[in-house]
Structures are given as structure tokens and as C-alpha cells.
């Protein structure tokens, strides 16, 4: 494979809370190739959103801090930069330009006092130095691209005049307006109706083909991942516990948590293999203030043995481009 577009190594991010320091992301490493889609799956609090905000260097605003790690990005001119070491000004030139982001809440993600056309044009004017008139033309073009009917008059609409699905399309238009090399989509379909969800997924996929960008797709929904991702990283309690090509994840999971997630989805191969009964994972994720020593999934794991609770388990190769954080990965079976 050619040089990756994005290379995250040993990322550690923590937040100060009234009860103490919380390490939300602990030693996360992954790479993302050009044009590739990596799905990041995990439940709430697993650190998937914090990972994406860390890449954008937006965690400080929420009271967070990146403690360690490098985030290397290959830019359009072939140069490689470590986002961590950039000045604020140079980082701003990357945000919205090289890396763009779509968020979970389309209803609150747009500034209510600006027209959507202005908000799409804002990034273009900033990064590409277009005039007001050119930016408006680009905004209309982007609205058409994301499938908004009558884009010329819609550009003058305010966010409150649009539905949630339309607003998410506008968010995508904003994100793609500068043709970023990387799109980070943080649960972009979670707040939408199921039919609209499918449309938005379709839209992201087709635009990805058109622009040739990479996508980091964050979701808690394995079904969505199956549809959109090339590779999947499963996160649990701030760590990646398994990473594999999307087919591998579903056919040969190598971590009990990954298997547990699949068994809890109605109609998935893993759940039907268990006599059609849905299995749930007992217990709850650990309190982020006191994660257990050793494997963090150990308290809920059906395969747990004493060795699991002793040392930190490493993310080890278990197959071709397949890594898992489990010492009994050979015994994880889709039964």
C-alpha cells in the first residue's frame, strides 16, 4: 500500500473532571489510506468522538488535553505534517480544508442567524480566497451536489427553514466545499430518520467516489459500518480492541467484545448462529475514573481467565491486517 493519508500513533487524550483526570483515549493507533473508509465503532464513552476531535485539535475547547501521540497527515502537495506540532494558525488552515468534519446533530450544527449559503461559502472564502460572489456560486453548486432541490433559492434559506435531513445535507456541503482529503463523519446519521439515514449514507458514499477522499466514519451502529466501511476499528473504554477489514470483522471476529456486539444485533449472522436468540453483553463499561488493570473488558468477558487481569494486553497481529487486543483470540468463535 502507498503511504497512508493519516497516521495516528499512540494517541492519548484526557479530560479534567471534578472527580479527577479521565483518560478518554488511551494509546490509539491506526492508519488511513487515500480513498479508504475506516469505520470506528464503539458505545458511548468509548473514546471514538474524542479520537476524532483530537485529530482536529478541538479537544481543548471542551476542557480536554492531548497528552501524547503523533497525528501525521499527508497534505495535497505530498508533504507530511504532524498536526500536534502545528501553530494554531497553520492548524486552522488544515481544518475545513484538508480535513473536514460532519457532526451528529444537524439541528444544532448550523448558526441560526446566517443563511446556509453564507455558511457554505464561509469556508471556501477562508481557505480558497474566493470573493463573495464566487463563494455563493460554489455554495449553490455544493447544494446541488448534495441533492437539495432548487439550490439557487435554498441558498438564501436560514437553517430553521430546513428539515433535519436537509440540514445534514447542508453540513455535508459545508464539509466538502473545499474538497478535503479526509472527511471525519461523527455519527452523521444517528439523529436522523431511518429512511433519511440511508439517503445520507448513500450520499457520502457517492461523493467519496466522486472526490476521492478518505472517510473516518464514527458510529455506534455495526449495520452502518457494514454498509460503508472498508476497514473497522472497534473501540472499548478508550482503546482499540480490534481492527480488521470489514468482512473479517463479521466473519472472523477476534475479540469477545466484537462478537458480543454482533450477537446483540437482530438478524446478524452471529445472532442467528446463536439459535435466533439475542445475546447481550452483561454488565456495563468500566468507570473511566477507575479502569480495571489488565484487559478492560475482562469483567464482562465470557472467556476471561486469571492472566487477563494481570498485565495490559497488547494489540497484536492475529491475521493479515487484522489486530486484536485479546490473549484468547483463537477461541473467539461465531457460534
Amino acid at each position: 500500500m502507498s503511504e497512508p493519508l493519516l497516521e495516528v500513533t499512540g494517541l492519548k487524550t484526557s479530560f479534567s473532571t471534578p472527580r479527577g483526570e479521565v483518560r478518554s483515549v488511551d494509546d490509539v493507533s491506526f492508519t488511513l489510506g487515500a480513498g479508504e473508509t475506516l469505520g470506528v465503532v464503539g458505545e458511548s464513552g468509548s473514546g471514538k468522538s474524542v479520537t476524532s476531535l483530537s485529530i482536529m485539535r478541538l479537544v481543548e475547547r471542551g476542557g480536554g488535553r492531548i497528552d501524547a501521540g503523533t497525528i501525521r497527515l499527508r497534505r495535497g502537495d505530498g508533504s507530511r505534517v504532524d498536526l500536534q506540532s502545528l501553530s494554531d494558525r497553520r492548524m486552522r488552515a488544515i481544518r475545513g480544508n484538508d480535513i473536514a468534519m460532519v457532526f451528529q446533530e444537524p439541528m444544532t450544527s448550523l448558526d441560526p442567524v446566517w443563511t446556509v449559503g453564507d455558511q457554505i461559502g464561509e469556508a471556501v472564502r477562508l481557505h480558497q480566497g474566493l470573493t463573495r460572489r464566487q463563494a455563493r456560486a460554489r455554495a449553490i453548486e455544493m447544494l446541488r451536489l448534495v441533492g437539495i432541490p432548487d439550490p439557487v433559492s435554498r441558498a438564501d434559506d436560514y437553517p430553521h427553514q430546513m428539515s433535519g435531513g436537509m440540514r445534514q445535507r447542508v453540513m455535508i456541503a459545508i464539509a466538502l466545499s473545499c474538497q478535503p482529503a479526509l472527511l471525519i463523519a461523527d455519527e452523521p446519521t444517528t439523529a436522523l430518520d431511518v429512511t433519511v439515514q440511508a439517503q445520507i449514507l448513500e450520499l457520502i458514499k457517492s461523493l467519496q467516489d466522486e472526490i476521492g477522499m478518505s472517510v473516518l466514519f464514527i458510529t455506534h451502529d455495526l449495520g452502518v459500518v457494514a454498509e460503508i466501511a472498508d476497514r473497522v476499528a472497534v473501540m472499548y473504554a478508550g482503546q482499540i480492541v480490534e481492527e480488521a477489514p470489514v468482512r473479517e470483522i463479521f466473519t472472523r471476529p477476534a475479540h469477545p467484545y466484537t462478537l458480543g456486539l454482533q450477537q446483540s444485533i437482530p438478524g446478524s449472522p452471529a445472532s442467528s448462529a446463536a439459535n435466533g436468540r439475542l445475546k447481550t453483553i452483561g454488565g456495563a463499561p468500566p468507570d473511566p475514573l477507575s479502569v480495571p488493570a489488565g484487559c478492560r473488558f475482562a469483567p464482562r468477558c465470557p472467556l476471561v481467565q486469571p492472566a487477563c487481569r494481570e498485565d495490559e494486553i497488547a494489540l497484536a497481529d492475529v491475521g493479515e491486517s487484522h489486530r486484536a487486543r485479546c490473549i484468547r483470540w483463537r477461541e473467539v468463535r461465531v457460534r
Binding site: 482536529m56 478541538l58 475547547r61 486552522r92 488552515a93 488544515i94 481544518r95 475545513g96 480544508n97 473536514a100 468534519m101 457532526f103 446533530e105 444544532t108 450544527s109 448550523l110 448558526d111 441560526p112 442567524v113 446566517w114 443563511t115 464561509e122 469556508a123 477562508l126 481557505h127 436560514y158 430553521h160 427553514q161 453540513m171 459545508i174
Partner: protein, 333 residues
């Protein structure tokens, strides 16, 4: 926009009618008979009936209301029986003094509060923020008449930087608007303008402190709320510079409540301040009204109530219109 404006104006007009009704009814409901008051305690019933006829008090109540409304709109606000002068002239003579003081106080309060709060919230400095909160808290707590006295002791008596309690200072040769600073400027007299400003400074600042504190607290809270809105994170993710995020996005979203409160404060200040006017010997309407109340001079009080209502409604209409410009959701709904 035209529909929005006409709706606002129609609703303002309705409010004026309502306010005039209230003022009218309250004054009729007072047990004292104005005719008896004017004619004096020893007047015969015939004389009182004569005065009642002269005042139109023998007409049916709806006709009295119509007379009153038409009179008010045409500038006939009745006679002040204690001074024998037409009320309109009395108020017209004193209103500019109060209004000028009010406008400068409002300018201090509004501009000061907005500038300080926006800059402090932009720096995100915890230390400055704490200072601002204490400043606002103290401002709200201190009564303006007490501040007036403190200011006089410090800036007039001790330091001699500002003139003492001598009212508005020397009047401009030609009274065009009745606003001294404006009249001096129109006459091209910079020295006079400066003198008028120095006379205004202490009372205006004393009046401005409490509203300033109130506006600081309001705007600070709203700015803080908007800063945590998801769309602000989106703006940062687009690479928009913090300065632009703050002034072009956060501020317009946080500004509406401050605008509303600012309007109410301006209207309230325009009604004059009795205590501060007294302390600075300011020839404004506040003093006039207090005297009117004490002497049961109804025409004065009634005219003042109506005038205040007009000012409130007028200022609120302006605020409503300004709203439409600031927030598209108001304009379209």
C-alpha cells in the same frame, strides 16, 4: 419584512390605546374631584358645576375619554393648576434635560457593558471574568443616589475634575433641540459642548452603573450559553478564526436578550430619575412629576404617565424592528 413591520406597528398602536385607557381609568377612579380641588375648599356647588363643565367632566365617560385622547394627540395636555401653566409647555421645557441625561447614561451603560463583556469573554481569561462578575454585582447593588453623593465627594470636592451639583451648566445661546451638547455642536462651540459634557458626566455615570451591571450579567450568561452550542464547534472545525467566530457568530446569537433589556432600560431612563435629578439639581421631568404628585396636580401626572407609555412603546417598537435585522427567525415567524 413589510408585513413584519406593519404587524409590529399595529400592535404598538393597540398598546398605546390600552395604556391611555389605563391612565384614564386610574385617574377617574381616584376619589378626589378635580373640580373641587381647582375651585378650592370654599367654593359653592354652582361654581364647582361650572368648573366641571369647563373641564368636560359632566359629559358621559366615553366622551371624556375621546376628548382626552384627542387632546393628548394634539398637544393639549391640560393645565397644571398649581403653576397655572399648560402641562405641555411644562414638560416640553423639562423633557430634553431628562432625555439628554438618559441618553448619555444609556450610552455609558449599553456600550460599556457590551464592550467589556464581549472583550472579556473573548479573552477567555478566568481572572478578568471574575473581576467583571464582581464589578457587575457591585454595580447592581449600589443605589444611584448614594453613588451620586460619592461621585460628588470624590470628583468634585476632592479632585475638582467635574462641576458640582449645579444642573446642566450654562445654556447655549440658541436652543434648537433643547439638548445642550447637540445645540453647542450645531453652533460649532466646542468649549460649550465640552462644558455641557462635563456637567452630564457624573449624573449620567451614576445612573448608568446599575443598568450596566445588569446588562453585563445578562450578556455574559448568554455569550457563555452560545459558546457551548454545537455550531460553534462546527465553525472551529471549518477553520474559522476565533475572532470571527466570536464577533460574527457567537455575538449575534447572544445579543437579542441584551437588546430587549437595553430597550427597557432606555425607556425607563427617559422617564427621568427623581433622586439623581434632585442631587444634581437637574431641571428634568423627574422633579416635575414628584411635585405634581405631592400637589395632586393631576394633569401633570396624567400627561407624564401617557408620555412614559409612549416612550416605552416607541422604544420597544424600535427594539422589535432591530430584532428582525439581527435574527432571521423573528423576521420570518
Amino acid at each position: 419584512m413589510v408585513r413584519f413591520l406593519s404587524e409590529r406597528i399595529a400592535s404598538a398602536a393597540l398598546t398605546v390605546v390600552g395604556a391611555s385607557l389605563v391612565a384614564f381609568i386610574i385617574l377617574r377612579a381616584v376619589p378626589t374631584n378635580p373640580a373641587r380641588l381647582i375651585a378650592g375648599p370654599f367654593a359653592s356647588d354652582d361654581v364647582i358645576a361650572e368648573v366641571e363643565r369647563a373641564l368636560g367632566l359632566d359629559k358621559p365617560i366615553y366622551a371624556q375619554y375621546a376628548d382626552y385622547l384627542v387632546g393628548f394627540l394634539s398637544g393639549d395636555w391640560g393645565f397644571s393648576y398649581s403653576t397655572g401653566q399648560p402641562v405641555y409647555a411644562l414638560i416640553a421645557e423639562r423633557f430634553p434635560a431628562s432625555a439628554e441625561l438618559a441618553l448619555y447614561a444609556f450610552l455609558f451603560a449599553f456600550v460599556g457593558a457590551v464592550l467589556m463583556t464581549v472583550l472579556v469573554s473573548f479573552t477567555r481569561s478566568r481572572w478578568l471574568d471574575r473581576f467583571l462578575r464582581i464589578f457587575a454585582f457591585v454595580n447592581i447593588g449600589i443605589p444611584p443616589f448614594w453613588v451620586s453623593l460619592l461621585f460628588l465627594m470624590l470628583f468634585f470636592e476632592q479632585l475638582g475634575w467635574f462641576p458640582g451639583p449645579v444642573g446642566r451648566g450654562p445654556a447655549p445661546g440658541e436652543a434648537v433641540t433643547g439638548y445642550y451638547t447637540l445645540d453647542y455642536l450645531l453652533a460649532g462651540d466646542v468649549g460649550g459642548f465640552w462644558a455641557a459634557l462635563r456637567h452630564l458626566a457624573l449624573p449620567a455615570f451614576a445612573l448608568a452603573l446599575a443598568p450596566m451591571g445588569f446588562l453585563i450579567r445578562l450578556l455574559r450568561a448568554n455569550l457563555l450559553d452560545v459558546t457551548h452550542e454545537p455550531f460553534v464547534t462546527v465553525l472551529h472545525s471549518k477553520g474559522v478564526a476565533p475572532l470571527s467566530v466570536h464577533f460574527r457568530h457567537i455575538l449575534p446569537n447572544a445579543f437579542l436578550p441584551t437588546l430587549t433589556a437595553g430597550g427597557l432600560i432606555l425607556a425607563q431612563l427617559l422617564g427621568g430619575s427623581v433622586l439623581v435629578e434632585r442631587i444634581f439639581v437637574w431641571p428634568g421631568v423627574g422633579t416635575l412629576v414628584i411635585d405634581g404628585i405631592l400637589r395632586q396636580d393631576y394633569a401633570v401626572v396624567q400627561a407624564f404617565i401617557m408620555l412614559s407609555a409612549f416612550i416605552y412603546i416607541g422604544v420597544n417598537l424600535l427594539v422589535d424592528i432591530a430584532y428582525g435585522y439581527v435574527d432571521p427567525r423573528v423576521r420570518r415567524s
